[in-house]
């Protein structure tokens, strides 16, 4: 047992649901008790999704506990198949169903007999993998299933496209800025003259999966979602994989050079050097920013980076190599993929922290006292408490991290966004610091805080006590409204009774 207040990565089924509901016309059925369909709330709220989230639960209740699910799961799958005609239904186990040890595989094969669409059991162990690992695994499982299916029907299309083309693997719902990154990557590929064969799993149809082998190579922008699928495709079809995250000027260039090498090896004759030069000079402002006097002032400032593997590693490299910032500590919560992270960042920071315990990171931040933090929402709150600015660079995230405006983290526009993020975090900190030295914006003391100088109005102890219970940020307003009401009524003493009366009258 572990005492826990907060976790960075969610439970396994969230990963499976993120992948399943990213596909078009794929429905997930969770084998779960009432209330476990919280995923639908997150998707509907965070992504402001206009469509119903294609996830339902086959409810595990007392009866299921006593007698087993029996027909229930099968009935629910068949029913959903009839109602919505999905191409695929993914039966998703949860922590509850893991310990019930029902033969879900058997339910799936029985449901398959009656269902028009395909039915699949997500192969994830709740107690061994987290959200990220489960997502990666589920994507690979679905791809493998449809490749096998196409092979059996003999309509697998393995002929490469005429022009160089790519599968972009790993863009999913509820991913950090994934929808903007998707647009940016598509733009980048178009600029490079590379056709997009397929984007996975975001809005893809499972019927298109048989086209996967047609691509010249696979691009896996995120370390957390997609590598398993890319590895599978490499083993099956020899499709090479580019797994360099194009985040930051240097890494974007490295990614593009790798693409060049991969496509040239297959007979294309491209040279992207001019493109890289042009973009770095004209489209991205980040390179110029590094030389500018603004950035010079950031030299040697201390920063801490914490997040998932992809973003924390990329951020560390950007801060250290492109902006001359001193990264004291870089860390990740992707414990299962620790080795990769260490290899990526070890040259660019003093310390490495691999931990899933938010307390440990908070302690490190307090000890190091950096000028800025780049982390998750949790680090943002630690920063608030310690008065250190924080730029959010990775999940877990809140609704404000699903901006409506265009905010990619990848590609050349992404470098601009990152420069803003970094620069704003540090200047805010600097401004704050100067304000403290010079004693704030307004040094004159304000004489009257409230509109009504306590002219002849008495609050009884009881009414005062009630007033004090009202949360601070609205208390002033309630007090003013109540006193205004009392004056209008010609009352001199505000009793509990009058306090309520004022609320009833003016909604104070």
């Amino acid at each position: 047992m572990k005492l826990a207040y907060w976790m960075y990565a969610g439970p396994a089924h969230i990963g499976t649901l993120r992948v399943a509901s990213s596909f078009k016309n794929v429905h997930a059925i969770m084998h779960a008790p009432l209330g476990d369909d919280y995923f639908n709330v997150m998707r509907s709220m965070l992504e402001r999704e206009q469509d119903f989230t294609p996830v339902t639960a086959s409810i595990v209740d007392r009866n299921v506990l006593a007698r087993g699910s029996q027909e229930k799961v099968v009935d629910n799958i068949v029913r959903k198949d009839r109602e919505e005609r999905p191409d695929l239904i993914v039966l998703t186990p949860t922590c509850t169903s893991s310990i019930l040890q029902e033969d879900l595989e058997n339910f799936v094969s029985r449901a398959q007999l009656d269902a028009k669409g395909d039915v699949l059991l997500a192969d994830v162990n709740h107690y061994r993998v987290n959200e990220l690992q489960a997502g990666d695994r589920t994507l690979q499982q679905i791809v493998q299933y449809y490749i096998a299916k196409a092979r059996k029907k003999e309509d697998l299309d393995t002929v490469k496209t005429e022009k160089p083309s790519v599968n972009i693997i790993g863009l999913s719902t509820l991913g950090f800025h994934n929808n903007h990154d998707s647009t940016e990557l598509k733009r980048l590929m178009a600029d490079l003259g590379i056709e997009i064969n397929l984007i996975l799993p975001d809005k893809a149809s499972v019927h298109d999966l048989k086209k996967l082998p047609k691509a010249w190579f696979n691009l896996v922008p995120y370390r957390e979602l997609g590598p398993m699928t890319a590895k599978y495709l490499e083993e099956e079809f020899g499709t090479p994989c580019v797994d360099i995250t194009p985040m930051g000027v240097l890494e974007t260039a490295r990614c593009i050079r790798k693409i060049q090498q991969v496509v040239n090896a297959q007979g294309a004759d491209v040279n992207f050097e001019d493109f890289i030069h042009n973009q770095t000079k004209n489209v991205s402002q980040a390179a110029w920013f590094s030389r500018s006097i603004d950035c010079q002032n950031l030299t040697g400032k201390k920063a801490i980076v914490f997040g998932d593997n992809t973003h924390a590693a990329a951020m560390t490299k950007i801060l250290a190599r492109e902006m001359g910032i001193h990264v004291v500590l870089a860390g990740t919560y992707c414990k299962y993929d620790e080795e990769w992270f260490r290899k990526e960042v070890s040259e660019y920071c003093d310390e490495i922290l691999i931990s899933e315990d938010h307390g440990e990171i908070a302690d490190a931040i307090a000890r190091i006292e950096p000028a800025a933090i780049f982390g998750t929402q949790m680090e943002r709150h630690v920063g608030k408490r310690l008065n250190i600015p924080c730029g959010v660079i990775a999940a877990p995230i809140h609704i404000q991290n699903f901006p409506i405006g265009y905010r990619p983290f990848l590609g050349y526009e992404g470098t601009n966004q990152l420069a803003d993020l970094v620069y704003n975090s540090f200047t805010l900190g600097m401004e704050d610091h100067l304000l403290e030295i010079f004693g704030g914006h307004d040094t004159k003391e304000i004489l009257t805080k409230s509109m009504s100088a306590d002219g002849g109005l008495n609050w009884t102890a009881e009414a005062q006590e009630q007033l004090n219970k009202i949360p601070g940020f609205v208390r002033g307003k309630v007090k003013r409204n109540t006193e205004k009401y009392a004056r209008e009524q010609g009352i001199h003493e505000i009793s509990l009774e009058k306090f309520y009366a004022a609320k009833e009258a003016v909604g104070a």
């Binding site: 572990k2 005492l3 207040y5 402001r48 206009q50 119903f52 409810i59 109602e83 009793s495």
Partner: protein, 470 residues
Amino acid sequence: MTVAQDKPALNFECETGNYHTFCPISCVAWLYQKIEDSFFLVIGTKTCGYFLQNAMGVMIFAEPRYAMAELEESDISAQLNDYDELKRLCEQIKRDRNPSVIVFIGTCTTEIIKMDLEGFSPRLEQEIGIPIVVARANGLDYAFTQGEDTVLAAMANRCPTEEPAPVKVEEQENATRFQKLLSLGLKKEQEAAPAIATTPKHDPLILFGSLPDPVATNLSHELKKQGVEVSGWLPTKLYTELPVVKPGYYVAGVNPFLSRTATTLMRRRKCKLIGAPFPIGPDGTRAWVEKICSVLGIEPQGLAEREAQIWESLEDYLQLIRGKSVFFMGDNLLEVSLSRFLIRCGMTVDEIGIPYMDKRYQKAELDFLVQTCEEMGTPVPRIVEKPDNYNQIQRINELKPDLVITGMAHANPLEARGINTKWSVEFTFAQIHGFTNARDILELVTRPMRRNESIKDLGWDKLVREDALV
């Protein structure tokens, strides 16, 4: 009997139970704030933790007095001893927070692996020296607000049977002196109001249900004006101040989802339950006060005027909703009381979805609903227990209600299809009880209408093509 048959009958249905609601462990979020010296330990998995962390939003960052005891594979397969593990965690909690009570929240997982929380908590309690209350608030058995019910039912057993021992006499005196001071401030009011008793002339009355302090004080005040003295609340601000409950005391509930607590108070503590409609809306509040008065043998004064005065102050909001229809998808058990209030406001209700319907505990409220429908000349809505969200959405598409009160999972998709929604959870967290807060309920209900008023001419009320409808 014949009278009952003349009345329009309530129509109860039961569907599949495939609906969206919050897990009952969410009750820790408001109960830990209410009971200030408590610590809530949710014994479950990552799934439970993830839900709490996301559903409670920013509250998690305020160093809450709740935590997960996260079960790992070795706990599930019984390689570790539950008792030793929990003891270790409890000792850590005691060291870090020193609470007056630790509440164990049992979850689906502890049910399935049959962890005997009730069995070993007395021993654990002795060893660590802090009371441990066990509540099984799991998604196998309960929905959302019923979590509070399981906690309060467990707490009801912990209420003292006698006044505290005389050792604490000094503290006690302070408290009464303080109370005297408070009632002094009210003296003038009391003299002005008729039929006021300084010492209760009736058997002691305990109210149950967790409400924000201002609301609880407001309701007590409302009763005080009628000469009804509230002897205690379950729960109290501090666990150490749980009210004395003796056999023969009267108890009354303030929320419709507290049926287990009511049962516990009746069966285990031998209290007498006052079955009344719930004090939601001015009509409900009046009926609630009246029923309590009538049971206690007090003639209520001035309630009709008070109610009329509140209705008058609501007129601007009533104009917005009169004649409009509302559909409750059902997830928090407040649905019947809210429907009854909205029907009185002049709305029609297409459907009352509700997770669970205790017809005995809610009897007075159900009767009041029928009576309200009769008086307002509207048909009695059907009540759908354990609703099926998919079917409900089909019905919503047919009925095209003016307002759907629903969970957050469906709100945005319905709005995109041109259907007004209001999140149901807001009714759980807003202050909706008593005369004073009636306006707050309508503030919530009318918000989509007022929003529409301001954007009505823009023309993009349906953003999803019809064929994309589910």
